[in-house]
């Protein structure tokens, strides 16, 4: 047996599910949407993609690193406000604001994490709640910068190196590409050795600490990374809708994102994606229910904690999924011995 059989070259066809998902997102869905030709459906599609990214970024911090984070929407808001301010005050385009808003959100998260990351369990949760509310108050009350409750109109739409992408289909594709890249990055990150180290912190941080894992530093990194992706989502949102206001980044949005991760199954990326789609599309599909939208979120969250404590995709099935489709931590090395869990 030679080495090439131990290390099979896996083409795209051996990973049907992500390929199928990509096919639907990039080819089938735009055709269907164009067939209906209603801008509203594009809005829903873009919104769900953005929430997929938010949910995936929350998965990194809450699902993988086990930090209950109740202020995620605030970092999304920081990203959106950065994008809106940079484009309306300095005239920067989407290509510049996208990374900058991610970096700003990450910087804010880093500064916030410096003092709070030593707190554990419920104290951390409540500290993040307080920080989320503080950031929300800043958005609401720093009127000179953020225009307060009136919000900001973002004049620049999506564009790429000078090409305008503000058509429906182009906007959809831009959002889909950015979200897909970010989700793949989060997937690689959470199913690598690094992700497994974060899982060890989630399971028992004192034990991990005793084994030489630098828990506080790793938690800070996970928190900052997750805020980066939330900031990217915020930038997409700001350029896509063209108008942002503090109301979009309230505590209830944080809870919505948390519910997505919980419903999908803590610690599973496919679960986070499915949870986001479920909680955005289900209330939209049941439009007739109207006011019942938010109550549905609460009910779905409660029932999933009660009946499916592991979520739709528990950690174990998600690990199987990851093993099949990403396989980063499980792929055999050239020597033949596997690394990670077998």
């Amino acid at each position: 047996m030679n080495g090439s059989e131990l290390l099979p070259l896996r083409g795209g066809w051996s990973r049907p599910v992500p390929l199928l998902a990509a096919l639907v997102v990039f080819a089938v869905l735009p055709l269907v949407l164009a067939g209906f030709d209603r801008g509203y459906l594009y809005q829903i599609a873009n919104l769900s993609l953005i929430f997929v990214l938010l949910s995936a970024s929350m998965h990194l911090v809450t699902g993988v690193a086990g930090l209950l984070h109740l202020g995620h929407a605030a970092f999304y808001g920081v990203g959106a406000y950065t994008a809106a301010l940079l484009s309306s005050k300095l005239g920067l385009g989407f290509t510049a604001t996208l990374p900058l808003s991610g970096l700003t959100a990450a910087l804010v998260a880093f500064l916030v994490a410096l003092p709070t990351m030593r707190l554990v369990s419920i104290y951390f949760a409540v500290a993040t709640l307080a920080i989320g509310q503080m950031l929300y108050l800043v958005m609401l009350n720093w009127v000179e910068l953020t225009k307060g409750p009136n919000g900001i109109i973002v004049t620049k739409g999506l564009e790429l190196f000078g090409f305008g992408l503000s058509g429906r289909l182009a906007t959809y594709y831009t959002v889909a590409v950015v979200v897909a890249l970010c989700v793949v990055a989060i997937g690689r990150l959470s199913h690598s050795y690094y992700g497994n180290t974060l899982r060890s912190i989630r399971e028992d941080d004192q034990c991990a600490d005793a084994m030489g894992v630098r828990t506080v530093r790793l938690k800070m990194e996970a928190f900052t990374l997750s805020a980066f992706f939330a900031g990217v989502a915020g930038s997409l949102w700001a350029h896509m809708t063209g108008y942002i206001s503090p109301g979009d980044f309230k505590f209830s949005e944080s809870i919505l994102i948390l519910a997505m991760v919980v419903v999908g199954g803590l610690g599973s990326l496919p679960g986070a994606v499915i949870g986001a789609l479920l909680l955005i599309l289900l209330p939209e599909g049941l439009r007739g229910l109207g006011d019942f939208r938010n109550i549905m979120v609460g009910l779905v969250m409660f029932l999933s904690i009660l009946l499916l404590p592991k979520g739709l995709f528990g950690e174990v099935s998600a690990l199987d999924f990851a093993r099949r489709h990403w396989g980063a931590a499980w792929r055999r090395t050239r020597g033949g011995e596997g690394i990670g869990w077998q």
């Binding site: 209950l68 003092p115 709070t116 009350n141 209830s252 519910a259 904690i305």
Partner: protein
């Protein structure tokens, strides 16, 4: 001589702090026993206020009946909340099998989910607008005390808070139920081994704590004259801050810190602006968590 203006602000801050204290008493009681945050306490406060409002608009009864209705609804809500959101997730006996740290916060999430359902349900039933309380029931007749003007509600709320505090201290330190509550709060498994019915004790705690929360809701509703579905969120956060500052399981500590919080907020409103005044509470929370992990009135309990 102090400027009467500042004395007036101090009085306003004290009465604000008193409304937080009302809420914080029940909150601290529940936290002290189960060591979990009950995120739905704010909704129990709202339910108490709405129970009072419904009774007022339906029958126009005497004020005492309104309070009793709120207390009854509070007791019922506390009982069902414990059954729905806490009992299914309570595993005193198999703590070791709860492997994943991520799942240990499930009661926090479930109480959060229940609070969303209750709040949105109230919004569907009553609309998200403020409902005003009929004038006859308001407790804001001005009373002049020296240079400052207080309202009757300040005295009523102060009296109720003091009565609650004394009653609760009596319950906790002089009765068998209180002894059981303290035993469960100290060591649930040990309490079970010496024959205390932990399940019943926890229900009693929830009922008592939720009655206090509901009473706080209706009193605040009568005091400010407005009731709306989202009214419980901010006082819930403030009560939590007061609890953390007071040292987690110390009820007098929570009351004192609620007063400090109220005064600090009213000063912030005076000197900065009202929009930023909520920042004070969040700032206090962060500072306390970081620098005084045992709270200002040091609790004996080790921090988890």
């Amino acid at each position: 001589m102090i400027d009467p203006y500042y004395l007036q602000q101090l009085a306003i801050g004290l009465s604000l702090g008193m409304t937080y204290a009302l809420m914080a008493i029940g909150f601290t009681l529940i936290f002290g026993v189960l060591n979990v945050v009950n995120f739905a306490h704010g909704e129990i406060y709202t339910l108490g206020a709405f129970a009072g409002l419904v009774l007022i608009s339906a029958a126009a009864p005497p004020a005492a009946a309104v309070i009793f209705a709120a207390l009854a609804i509070g007791a019922l809500a506390g009982f069902s909340l414990e059954r729905l959101a806490f009992k299914p997730f309570r595993r005193f006996t198999d703590e070791a099998s709860l492997k994943s740290r991520a799942m240990r916060e499930s009661t926090l999430l479930s109480s959060l989910a229940v609070s969303i359902v209750v709040r949105e349900g109230l919004e569907i039933g009553f609309g998200s607008q403020m409902q005003s309380i009929p004038f006859a029931y308001l407790i804001n007749t001005p009373v002049r005390v020296g240079p400052v003007i207080l309202v009757t509600g300040d005295f009523i709320i102060f009296g109720v808070a003091a009565a609650m505090l004394v009653g609760l201290q009596y319950l906790l330190t002089r009765t068998r139920t209180g002894l059981a509550i303290r035993a469960v709060s100290n060591n649930p498994l040990g309490a079970k081994y010496v024959g205390i019915d932990t399940d019943r004790t926890i229900i009693v705690t929830f009922v008592v704590g939720s009655m206090m929360g509901a009473a706080a809701g209706i009193l605040t509703g009568l005091y400010y004259g407005a009731v709306f579905p989202a009214m419980g969120f901010i006082p819930g956060i403030k009560a939590f801050v007061a609890m953390v500052m007071g040292g987690l399981s110390s009820i007098p500590g929570a009351v004192i810190c609620a007063l400090i919080l109220g005064i600090a907020e009213s000063m912030a409103t005076t000197f900065v602006s009202s929009g930023w005044s909520d920042m004070v509470a969040y700032g206090f929370l962060i500072v306390t968590l970081i620098f005084f992990p045992n709270g200002l009135f040091g609790a004996r309990r080790e921090r988890v």
